[in-house]
Symmetry: C2
Subunit: 107 residues, 2 copies
């Protein structure tokens, strides 16, 4: 039951998960590590947030189970919809960050 439209803005947790999955299938634990790396350790995602968010994001059609097989690991990949959502959210975040830096800089 995938939804038609992903709700923007994405939550920070969902954004980081999508970003971690861009261009590469990853399994859960790997996603956690990647999120830490991408955020310079400022975002620590526990298993509750990870698997809870994965459920929601799969339900929303942004992520799907991957093809890579490996007992013990479950791989996830971005869907086309997920990529679209990731790009849109990245642009939105960039704009907000730019606005903020302009404001702070002109003080």
């Amino acid at each position: 039951m995938s939804k038609s439209e992903p709700p923007l803005p994405l939550t920070p947790a969902v954004f980081h998960i999508l970003l971690a999955l861009f261009g590469k299938e990853r399994h859960g634990y790997d996603i956690m590590q990647q999120v830490r790396a991408d955020s310079r350790d400022t975002v620590k995602m526990g298993p509750g947030t990870l698997y809870g968010s994965l459920d929601r994001v799969i339900e929303a059609g942004l992520v799907a189970r991957g093809d890579t097989q490996d007992s013990r690991r479950i791989y996830y990949r971005l869907t086309a919809l997920g990529q679209t959502a990731l790009r849109a959210e990245t642009e939105r975040l960039s704009r907000v960050a730019l606005v903020a830096r302009r404001q702070l800089g002109s003080a």
Copy 2:
């Protein structure tokens, strides 16, 4: 009972409120308008989120009641701690946005 340390990352709602208050005292309704403007209408903050967040942010010592007086309006201003938190969060967001754009760009 202001807290010593603001928890980073800030929630999107809190971040937008602090940003709206940077360099200028504003009353509640004005903050709502400014958040919409800063986010190009992508973030719509209702009164529930606004006043609830204001309570938390005052409690945390990031915002205080302003000096401007005007019956019917209540003004809010950033504290020094709030400015520090805003700058830190802006830097964090900028870094995350940059990492994301790099990833998406190299596809």
